[in-house]
């Protein structure tokens, strides 16, 4: 121990023999939920990001308000690999209940920071130990007692920053952002951080090899979560109406819509809003409201998760059949039933693909990054309007509730497409043309263009011939009730033709190829980071892999071609039964035997280590 150390704390004396590890390790913070640790964790995340270090933050939290264990893992990677890892080099232990296992989780040679009021013997000799006098520092800072629990987390921010080497200016910037410039809150938190930094600089000696260093790899990126991106994308998509019901992990999506309507959807000239948000009494009503709004010519969206999707099934079937454009965001969590409501999943694929009784076909968009959540946020409305049908966007908890380093949101590159809507003058023109023997008079479900997409009118159109009666019962080309066998069959075939046409206009798969690869990886959504890293790891072992990331379902023919081109295609997803593989087996039955399912089930985001192991285990067979 250095003579300079004035405290009673002992630190392990392992010298820093091994070379330093810079910007390539994970920090896991174990806290009690409801203690305000989220602010502290986000502060660390943002400070690292501002240092130019690619970083991700994943919150593993309970379905609970206060008192249960929660973990937050920051991964720093100059190489840009930001998926979850199963190795924890640096651990911050703030929760007595998980202290023993948190200590055990530290990788050999790692660092362990802990709240020194937790009196549990520490038996590890192979790691650096940093005690933190949380209570003492909070007391000395003179924090009002009501705020002490919250501010306590800023102590570990300061101490970790000092030992790891996080730039305190960047911490200040992170706090300024977090508290939206509110000086009192910033000062309070900053004061605590600063005191902790000062204490650590005097009382602790660096005894591990993990360092954060200024880098330049975050230029051209922003930090955002998927729900925020989806909400903003929707507002840029011209959404007029949003109805929702609270459900983890989708709640913050609609809340963000509410937050940004006054910013982006208040007419600067008139001061009037152009978007309405209604919190419904349940998901049955939320979907009913958007079906009503969609029918009335509004761009309407709801956001929910699996249980909500179950409740929305009947109205979605009606919207498909009555041809009402609506957008539904499913921020997936683990089912069945209430399942693991605070864990991530890609388990609603099958349910949505086949959603509704009778023959239906639902369109699903599958964003693979946070910036794509923004893009699909606006694009979904164009597709729904163009094809007059429900469009689902499947995000998940990992995207929705975690902060991701992502490309900046791009302004929509195509104009708003409202599809085939007829107003008074359009109807009048058609009536005149029909009277002159040119063309046919308007019928709501008449396939004039041969693409299966009819023309629609919306309430508020004052032309005397504009109205029609929308219904879930059998109807003919003019919307009239019909039980005729031929009419029914004709209509159902037109609906199929219409959605078949839509498939050709959905976001195409993204493919990354290597020369001579005989193995294919096929996946979608939030697993992209882990898959890219796994491919990198496998490439170093000499394995060649082509990777196709699906961005929509039903799949276009190039998906079948991709499977055809490879000896084996591994379908990677977050569920038990390999739902994407099942769907692809239905779409491409001849290719079913060429697909191998790698389904990751435990509710945690995919890690590259898991994927490499799972792949190699399959390949050995």
């Amino acid at each position: 121990m250095d003579k300079g150390l004035t405290s009673i704390y002992t630190q392990s004396d392992i010298p820093v023999k091994q070379p330093p590890v810079i910007n390539d390790f994970s920090i896991t913070i174990a806290t009690v939920n409801g203690s305000g640790s989220q602010t502290a964790n986000l502060t660390l995340l943002r400070a690292l990001f501002r240092m130019g270090i690619p970083v991700s933050g994943k919150n593993i939290f309970p379905s609970n308000i206060q008192g249960m264990p929660t973990w937050y893992t920051l991964r720093l990677s100059d190489a840009g690999f930001l998926a979850r890892r199963q190795v924890h080099e640096v651990v911050v232990a703030m929760n007595p209940a998980t202290f023993v296992s948190d200590l055990a989780d530290v990788t050999s040679g790692g660092a362990f920071f802990y709240d020194d009021s937790i009196k549990v013997p520490i038996d590890r000799q192979d790691i650096a130990i940093y005690p933190m006098p949380i209570k003492q520092l909070v007391r000395e800072a003179g924090t009002p007692s009501s705020l002490r629990d919250y501010i306590a987390n800023m102590v570990y921010v300061g101490i970790v920053a000092q030992i790891i080497g996080i730039d305190t200016d960047k911490i200040w910037q992170a706090l300024e952002f977090q508290f939206k410039g509110k000086e009192k809150a910033i000062d309070l938190n900053w004061g605590m951080v600063k005191a902790a930094v000062d204490w650590a600089s005097v009382n602790l000696k660096k005894a591990d090899r993990y360092f954060a260093r200024q880098s330049n790899k975050t230029d051209g990126f922003i930090m955002a979560d998927g729900n925020t991106a989806a909400a903003l994308g929707s507002l840029y998509g011209g959404m007029h109406f949003c109805a929702w019901y609270p459900i983890t992990p989708a709640t913050s999506l609609a809340e963000t819509v509410n937050e940004y309507v006054p910013v982006f959807r208040k007419d600067p000239v008139t001061g009037k809003n152009t978007c309405v948000v209604v919190q419904a009494e349940d998901e049955l009503a939320a979907v009913g409201m958007i079906v009503g709004a969609g029918y009335a010519g509004l761009r309407a969206m709801t956001s929910t998760s699996g249980p909500g999707i179950s409740l929305m099934t009947e109205y979605v079937g009606l919207a498909y059949f009555a041809e009402v454009p609506i957008v539904l965001w499913d921020v997936q969590r683990v089912g069945p039933s209430t399942g693991l409501p605070t864990r991530t999943s890609q388990g609603d694929l099958k349910q949505i693909y086949f959603m509704g009784h009778g023959d239906t076909r639902q369109i699903m968009l599958l964003p693979g990054s946070v910036t794509e959540c923004f893009e699909f946020g606006w694009r979904a409305f164009d597709i729904a309007d163009q094809y007059q049908t429900p469009v689902f966007v499947l995000s998940d908890l990992d995207f929705g509730m975690n902060q991701w380093m992502t490309r900046p949101f791009q302004y929509p590159d195509t104009p708003i497409n409202r599809g085939k809507i007829l107003w008074e003058e359009d109807l009048e023109r058609r009536a005149v043309e029909a009277a002159n023997g040119k063309g046919v008079s308007w019928g709501r479900y008449l396939d004039v263009d041969g693409d299966g997409i009819p023309y629609r009118t919306v309430p508020g159109n004052r032309h005397p011939a504009a109205a029609y009666f929308a219904r879930g019962t059998g109807h003919d080309e003019y919307g009239r009730y019909s039980e005729s066998a031929e009419v029914w069959e004709r209509n159902m075939k037109r609906l199929k033709k219409k959605v078949d046409g839509a498939v050709l206009n959905l976001p195409e798969p993204v493919v990354k190829r290597m020369d001579g690869a005989e193995i294919g990886f096929l996946a979608f959504g939030s697993t992209d980071d882990a898959i890219m890293e796994a491919i990198h790891m496998l490439t170093q072992r000499g394995q060649k892999i082509d990777y196709m990331r699906l961005r929509a379902l039903p799949s276009p023919s190039q998906v079948g071609e991709f499977i055809q081109q490879h000896q084996r295609t591994y379908v990677i997803e977050l569920n038990r039964d390999g739902q994407l593989r099942q769907i692809l087996s239905v779409e491409f039955p001849d290719l079913a035997a060429k697909m191998v399912s790698l389904a990751h089930l435990d509710g945690m985001p995919l890690s590259a280590e898991w994927l490499v192991d799972a792949f190699l285990a399959e390949e050995v067979q």
């Binding site: 959807r265 309405v276 009503a285 509004l298 009606l318």
Partner: protein, 350 residues
């Protein structure tokens, strides 16, 4: 007093102030049973809209599932309509009425649709004061599935195939009142004049107007002694008042004695004149309304008329600071933020 009574012998086609004939308000021929109360209500909706000079294109119709919910097809063919899901017409209407807030909504539901699966949405559309005339054609049975008890069937009601109803009924007017509906009326399809005047008043109301109309099912529940039958209704109807609807800016021509008339001014400036009958009733008092409903139940009266009205609370669509133009007509440039905002947006992220 009413325009359709004038010159009925005239050979030229009668038009209203909107320049429309009664034909312009008609729907498709009804496929409901002969004598069904619902047909009578559909006729009164037509008559009310005609007499109010409402342009049919300014109305949107909604319904759920059941015999009653088919009826929007039998009136106002020139109005848009949406036949939604069982019990979930209210949510459909809530969303649709934002499309163009100058439109008036008419929702038609039944006792099966509203008082069973739809009870939740019924209560919530009331809570939100959605500007909708919400008519419940209440007959105490499921017609389309051939005569099962509905949730409004009286306890002890005996039906041929079902036996005796063991459960207590849901009282729709009560539920509306308890839920703070701003307009609650009860009527009887066998009293078409009252039905028509109440529909007119409802169409002039600012927010949700609930009309619980006893509408006998001639096929499954019209036996003497059944509470939802024509004969029971005729024998037990006790009107709270005689109603006369006076359109906005029209001189009151009805000649009543002083102290016999209560005037209720509606949001659009029209007036409902309530002529005092046996009961001295004030429909602007919620406590009074509750008392009279409870009293009627105890006395086995079918109390009809305007039970409660409050014109002050704003309708849902007034709460959102929306533009004058219909949302569904806004130009693309008004609903997509301009290009230069994208940098501002990205700067808002971290």
């Amino acid at each position: 007093m009413m325009s359709d009574q004038v010159s009925s012998e005239s050979s030229r086609v009668q038009v209203n102030l909107a320049g429309l004939t009664k034909n312009d308000y008609r729907g498709n021929p009804s496929t409901l049973c002969q004598g069904c109360g619902h047909n009578s209500i559909a006729s009164q909706i037509i008559a009310a809209c005609y007499e109010l000079n409402i342009v049919p294109e300014n109305v949107v119709k909604f319904s759920g599932i059941g015999c009653s919910s088919k009826s929007p097809f039998y009136f106002l063919n020139r109005s848009f309509g949406f036949n939604g899901l069982h019990g979930r017409m209210p949510s459909l209407a809530t969303g649709a009425l934002f499309g163009d807030i100058s439109l008036r909504g008419i929702g038609v539901s039944g006792d099966g649709d509203t008082a069973s699966i739809g009870l939740g949405q019924f209560k919530h559309i009331i809570r939100r004061n959605v500007p909708l005339t919400y008519i419940i054609e209440n007959n105490g049975v499921y017609g389309l599935t051939k005569g099962q008890f509905s949730a409004t069937a009286d306890e002890g009601l005996v039906l041929k195939k079902q036996g005796t109803n063991p459960y207590l009924p849901v009282d729709i007017a009560w539920e509306a009142l308890v839920g703070h509906a701003t307009f609650v009326a009860r009527s009887f399809a066998g009293d078409p004049k009252q039905v028509k005047e109440l529909i007119k008043a409802a169409l002039s109301h600012r927010g949700i107007a609930v009309l619980d109309i006893i509408s006998p099912c001639v096929t499954f529940n019209n036996q003497d002694g059944a509470m939802h039958s024509y004969s029971w209704g005729k024998e037990h109807e006790v009107a709270l008042h005689e109603l006369a609807y006076v359109p906005p800016a029209k001189e009151i021509m009805v000649d009543y004695e002083d102290g016999q008339i209560k005037e209720v001014t509606m949001h659009d400036g029209s007036m409902v004149l309530l002529k005092k009958l046996d009961l001295d009733y004030d429909p602007t008092s919620r406590t009074e309304a509750m008392r009279v409903l409870e009293d009627a139940n105890a006395k086995q009266w079918l109390i009809t008329g305007l039970i409660y009205v409050d014109q002050k609370p704003p309708a849902l669509t007034e709460l959102y600071n929306l533009p004058q133009e219909a949302l569904n007509r806004l130009d693309a440039s008004r609903i997509r933020p301009p290009r230069e905002t994208i940098d501002q947006l990205n700067a808002m992220m971290f």
